[in-house]
Symmetry: C2
Subunit: 117 residues, 2 copies
Amino acid sequence: MKKAPCCEVNETHPEQIERVKNRLPDEDTLFALADLYKLFGDSTRLRILYVLLDTELCVCDIAELLGMTVSAISHQLRLLKQAALVKYRKSGKSVLYSLADSHVQTILAQGMEHITE
Amino acid sequence: MKKAPCCEVNETHPEQIERVKNRLPDEDTLFALADLYKLFGDSTRLRILYVLLDTELCVCDIAELLGMTVSAISHQLRLLKQAALVKYRKSGKSVLYSLADSHVQTILAQGMEHITE
DNA sequence: TGAACATTTGAACACTTGTTCAACTGTTAT
DNA sequence: ATAACAGTTGAACAAGTGTTCAAATGTTCA
């Protein structure tokens, strides 16, 4: 009892199918990647990343800049921090956030290129 | 009736705040960017993009490769197509999908770098 | 110590999203 | 024409997500 064929395309290119299968990252990596991109997929978090592009800011300043509550910003910063997209340091009463590494800039730049072309 | 001050940080760096504000992309651009990254934020769509990295495949082959229904894949391809991440051409009964431009590769590569370092 | 400030946290809510199922369109070949 | 195939579409459901609100933590300064 053979499985019903899909369409004829893969029948004629079995070696191609094999190659494609081998290129797929393993499941854990895929989920980690998706989780990373999800963080870029919200305009509030994008704005946070943009205002931190070359500045160090406290939660309260970010909230005021973006016209949102401190709580909302803090929740989002927690997610960005967990994914190592931002880092922070304490300074007196404040907590100053900044970007963690340069991949953020590159990913933002590539996305911008894509939508503006 | 002045607005209550945020914290003292922004009081001392007003020119910095101004610079940051000017760097923020406008609202429409931010939403477009977020929508783009949202597409990368799902493991099914990521897998589709990966199998199309250097191959042209029909809906049915993709579905079989990923162990999912044709309908589920078709729904996702529609989203990827709308965002110009994939393109397609008809060939007989089949519809062959492939990547639309090179930003996909770059974005995938940067994300992968970030999570594997 | 106590009051004021800066931030974090958890629960709750509305809203969005991915998959399934069934029905539908369009193409090929007999 | 008819049947079989390839793909698309819309509605519906469960699962996930962003913001709000209230309460809690921790720091500074008088």
